[in-house]
Amino acid sequence: MNLGTRKLLDRSFTALGISSIVIMGLMLLVVLVPIVSNGIGAIVFKSTIEHRKMLYHEFNRGDKADLQREIASSDASRKEIYRMLDTFDAELSKMDETRQQEYREKFEQVKNSLRALLGPIPGDEEPALARLKYGQTRWEKAEEKLHELLFEKKWDYSNPDEMAKEYEVSRSASFEGTSLVRLFPYVEKNIDRLLQPEWTFYWGFITDSSVDAHFFGGIWPEIQGTLFLAVGAMLFAFPLGVIGAIYFTEYARDGFLTSLLRSANSTLAGVPSIVFGLFGLTFFINTLKVSESKSVLAGSLTLAIMILPTIIRSSEEAILAVPKTYKEASLGLGSTKWNTIIKVILPAALPGILTGGVLSLGRAAGETAPIIFTAAVSVGSAIGLADVLSSPTPALSWNIYNLASEHEAAAEIRHVQYGMVLALMTIVTLLNMSAIVLRARISKKLKG
């Protein structure tokens, strides 16, 4: 091959390599930017006075005097709205039958939009669910609700052959000629005073339990559940995995049985995680009855089986990477085989073993399928260490799925879901980073 062609090939290969890395970086950016920005939005956001009321009543947090002053100033503006509603109500009862019917339904819609924005209207019965006790706690949601109050969404069904098109009608236009028409510009103009938005750093999102099925509050039970499950899985899988790896590398003779065991181990690593989940349900819960119901214990055991092959493989690699001379020197000095393994080989292999372990820990924290049937619930409070043997727990991975699809108001609480995604990613990233740091530190110590 002449030199020109070789250069050309070489350059084009370099270009290909660089472009694939750039594409990978861009993909990562496309995935990460919305996750991080939306996830942070769960903690740092513009909160309304309703948020502070909720914090005070549900968590007993916040300054009472401050809050009361705010409520007083907000109520001063709200009073005017409720007075307008009363005036219109009186006006409504004086109208003739047909007009009354025409307005009654629209008026009810207006009142419901106001309830969504500001919370219960005076005279309403005290709601039982927290989601109805407060208005919008987040400013960006409040702006959406304000829009719904000012404009009615309608559909144009005039063309029978096509899907209807959406259009909006100003509500004040549909109340033209009545006293209620003043309400809409009033709310729009005074929305700041009604809701008193201010930037908030809501650290409680990480440390609080959820209120009313994740409508308010935080995700601590989920975070804790995830940590319990991952750490529990490690407690079972790590010792077993390391012992298995020692057996494979130091004791097992090459033969049919060993190669069978090895390929069984590799196969186990390739089994889909949902299969482990179903296995965990039938074996640990229904057959062995490790717990009465789903539990952290059953979930940890299932996750442990799932990550066991990876731990065995990585420990095996780490042990094999220890230079033969170490072993020979130790045995040559008269040490026993067992002593050599414990005192020489394992410490030298420790960085590699730990790296594999921590990476598996990250995987255990992020898996959903194995815990659906064995450990995860959609709501539950944070459990103590004493309950891990018998209690199921919410966990980040499962609750992200639950909020995305099963929750009755999934679209209303997207920010909680994003917050959970960010929390899970942070946990996994921290675990992986600690693996890197740990490895570096141990290698340094061993060299020094």
């Binding site: 969404k153 029978p160 394992l346 944070a382 309950d387």
Partner: protein, 276 residues
């Protein structure tokens, strides 16, 4: 040995972590485990929060479908099984073999809301038309008074009580749902699929039919709490919480909540209909 020091460090940090967590340990054994229907889910979750507040008993709720709820109760892994359909004969006999005695407790009434995208002009469907859609006889909305667009029908998975209720209320013996029907795994998933697909139709519990979708009238009656309660809405059913044996203690307190004033409030605020 450096490695031993490190092990000690790891053990120590594990112990610290454990101590932190045990700080809020609760009374063990004082808890309720609920599993089952995603339809009953919103009621069960709200009841759970209320129950924990008033009785100090921890309640966990899983939403994995009525079929799973029944299995959990039969296997003894839950205290209460939320179900949106009555237990089947096969489940009852399986329970008998395991020595479990399922007792039916009615929670609330529910209507199956047939939901379409708000841009769909169809306002009313007869039961025969719905049956036609799901058996594959109608494939285009124009055949039943809608725009010229193919119908995307959404059904639930076989594990779902809502799916069984739909089959019982709408389909006739021997009918099978067309293989073109798409399957979603929960009420919420059906709702969000319909809300984002202009040509779709699906069915969900009354409490899920929110503003992002449009409920159509069935045989001329719109689904509403009143229409379900007086039986004029044809697609109505009961929701249950099954217990093992006659409920007692905390389990009894829990399944009796639909009879209490606060329970009734919760049921109507989550969009369902009171039975008691």
């Amino acid at each position: 040995m450096e490695a031993r020091k490190l092990f000690r460090k790891i053990l120590l940090s594990a112990a610290v972590f454990g101590l932190m967590a045990s700080g809020e340990a609760s009374a063990a054994g004082n808890k309720l485990v609920l599993d089952g229907s995603t339809t009953v889910g919103p009621i069960a979750k709200a009841f759970a929060a209320q129950f924990t507040k008033t009785n100090g008993v921890e309640v966990t709720v899983s939403e994995s479908g009525s079929g799973n709820g029944a299995k959990s109760l039969i296997n003894g892994t839950c205290d209460i099984a939320d179900m949106s359909r009555p237990m089947k004969d096969a489940e009852l006999s399986a329970a008998k073999i395991k020595g479990v005695n399922p007792v039916k407790n009615i929670v609330a009434l529910d209507g199956l809301a047939m939901i379409v995208h708000p841009s769909n002009r169809v306002r009313n469907l007869s039961r025969a038309q719905i049956r036609g859609i799901y058996t594959g006889a109608y494939t285009n909305w124009s055949q039943i008074g809608g725009p010229n667009a193919p119908i995307v029908m959404i059904q639930r998975e076989s594990n779902s009580g809502t799916q069984d209720a739909f089959k019982e209320l709408v389909l006739k013996d021997g009918d099978t749902v067309s293989s073109r029907a798409e399957t979603q795994a929960s009420n919420g998933a059906v709702k969000s699929r319909v809300a984002t697909t202009p040509t779709a139709i699906g069915f969900v519990g009354l409490g899920f039919a929110g503003r992002s979708v449009k409920s159509v009238a069935v045989d001329g009656v719109l689904p509403s709490a009143g229409a379900v309660r007086n039986g004029s809405y044809p697609l109505h059913r009961q929701l249950y919480m099954y217990t093992n044996g006659q409920p007692a203690g905390n389990v009894k307190k829990f399944v009796d909540m639909p009879k209490s004033p606060i329970g009734k409030r919760i049921i109507s605020e989550t969009g369902f209909v009171n039975y008691y």
